[in-house]
Symmetry: C2
């Protein structure tokens, strides 16, 4: 296969080529010049509306996502506005970047959308992206945007800080729980409460739903006044119960954001993203600096006592 | 009191002024221009020979340090070479930077060296030093060097990674244990084994000494071949038992280092220190960048889709 440049691939992806889209996402994952060229083009397009899902392994996120895809495509718009006819899904498992994500993606693929041309599913790993998944995911979402996706789901496995960080870079963040709430989520309860726009109690045909809802409501009460009080939706993803209500909750939250909030959030996320890129670039510069002859000269000077570490660092930074 | 500049203070400290020395160390802790000016002068002087002590709270480090000071001053040299007539002690408690260190220092001061003009004791805190204790301690040691100290002790409380990092920037690192070895040390066993040049089993008049020694020996056996096998010394710091052997162990280790090893270690430490300063300076530059008008202009461009985060970051970095 002849390697193509990012510009050609973006044009092909815009015209509907899934192969081109997949290639661009590989560029994003791999880092290096191809990633930069892809990002330079992709960031000219608006991001799709992003729905993030997170929760402990086994909570039923994949089945739920699968159901949401069906409902969303059947609706075909956000309650009548911004029509779409395709949905993108990014599956992320930061704890096992090389295999876990792939397994997740496969699981969804098996559930009915494997041959659906309106659905694009991709497992993300970080093969070389300098900033890891926290930068690769926003890049990937922009690539989907460039390929005219107006709606994307980002699914992360786990409730640790990293998973929550990635999920919370979504416009609407869904935290998936089960009856019993789960010890797995206790450790990062504060973090989850902070990012959740919607709580789902999946497997709501099991006992303990009422207690879990009560616990959640109590925690939300303790959380104080906010412009948006997280909604709580009960679902049974395996048979589709509650998934239409969940879609409606997403649409409600989107409507809330449209009242000005979305731009504020996006600007804050843009800021956070730029800060991350700045930090990553600076770290890589330190790494590069530490390999040059100028650096060794400064070490010699320090050992000889003719400079101090602060002056040495300033000299290196001013020359870099 | 009239503030003095670092140059004057260094001259006074060289002539034996403890007030000037104390002021310089306050400059180091506080960060800012005074810290930089102090560092610029202090790094022209060689570092003293540094003995680091670490171990869990209550292991008897302060009493042991107190005894070592007496032995070292009575000896007055490292087995006949590099004579010294004063000893500096830095007391560090990273877990409670504002009060813990002070209490520690007071404890030592109470133990007999309060009015000894040959002993200088200082509790270190980080009041504003950009790099925290990991940079303030090397700076402080250089200040002692500038004031003609040829021997210094650095005592850290705790066996976490930070405490061990600080203690391990010494020439000779002593890990203080007690009979029973202690649950406190289990968590970071690998880290302690890696940095220890000498293990002390203090409170060796208690039962369990033989088992603790056997455990340590077994761990050292598992650690594989090294040029220097950490020595194990038993002490009863409260009555001075074993402290002369401990001093001899320090002198033995110093002799080992003099066979070329010391320069290798110091170069490696110089490198680590410069990397830390570089990283800290870059972080502070990111902070400064994120407050300027140029940064806001890049955020505007990102929101408008006329740039991407990588290009925006490069632009900001090239302008900074």
């Amino acid at each position: 296969m002849i390697p193509r440049d990012a510009g050609e691939l973006v044009d092909l992806a815009r015209d509907g080529s899934r192969t081109a889209l997949a290639r661009l996402l590989t560029y994003v994952e791999s880092g290096g010049p191809a990633q930069r060229a892809t990002a330079a083009l992709a960031y000219q397009s608006p991001s799709p509306y992003v729905v993030g899902l997170t929760g402990p392994p086994g909570a039923g996120k994949s089945t739920l996502t699968d159901q949401l895809i069906s409902v969303a495509l059947a609706e075909g718009s956000f309650d009548g506005v911004e029509p779409f006819d395709q949905v993108g899904i990014l599956c992320i498992d930061p704890s096992s970047p090389f295999t876990g994500g792939a397994i997740l993606g496969d699981r969804i693929r098996m559930q009915g959308h494997a041959t659906n041309e309106h659905v694009f599913i991709r497992s993300m790993a970080t093969r070389g992206h300098l900033g890891g998944l926290s930068l690769a995911v926003p890049d990937a979402l922009r690539v989907l945007g460039a390929a005219h996706f107006r709606l994307a789901f980002v699914e992360t496995v786990g409730v640790g800080q990293m998973e929550v960080d990635i999920a919370s870079s979504a416009d609407t963040t869904i935290v998936v729980t089960n009856p019993g709430w789960g010890d797995a989520m206790q450790a990062n309860k504060a973090g989850l409460l902070e990012v959740a726009d919607i709580f789902v109690i999946n497997k709501a045909d099991r006992s303990g739903v009422r207690e879990t809802r009560r616990d959640l409501e109590q925690m939300l009460d303790l959380g104080g006044e906010h412009e948006w009080r997280p909604m709580i939706v009960e679902t049974v993803a395996t048979n589709g119960t509650g998934t239409e209500e969940l879609w409606e909750a997403i649409v409600s939250h989107r409507r809330f954001l449209e009242g000005g909030r979305r731009e504020v959030d996006r600007r804050a996320r843009t800021r956070a993203e730029l800060d991350k890129v700045l930090a990553v670039m600076m770290r890589s510069r330190v790494g590069a600096l530490a390999q040059g002859a100028a650096y060794e000269a400064q070490i010699d000077a320090l050992v000889a006592g003719t400079t101090d570490p602060y002056r040495a660092a300033e000299t290196l930074l001013s020359e870099s």
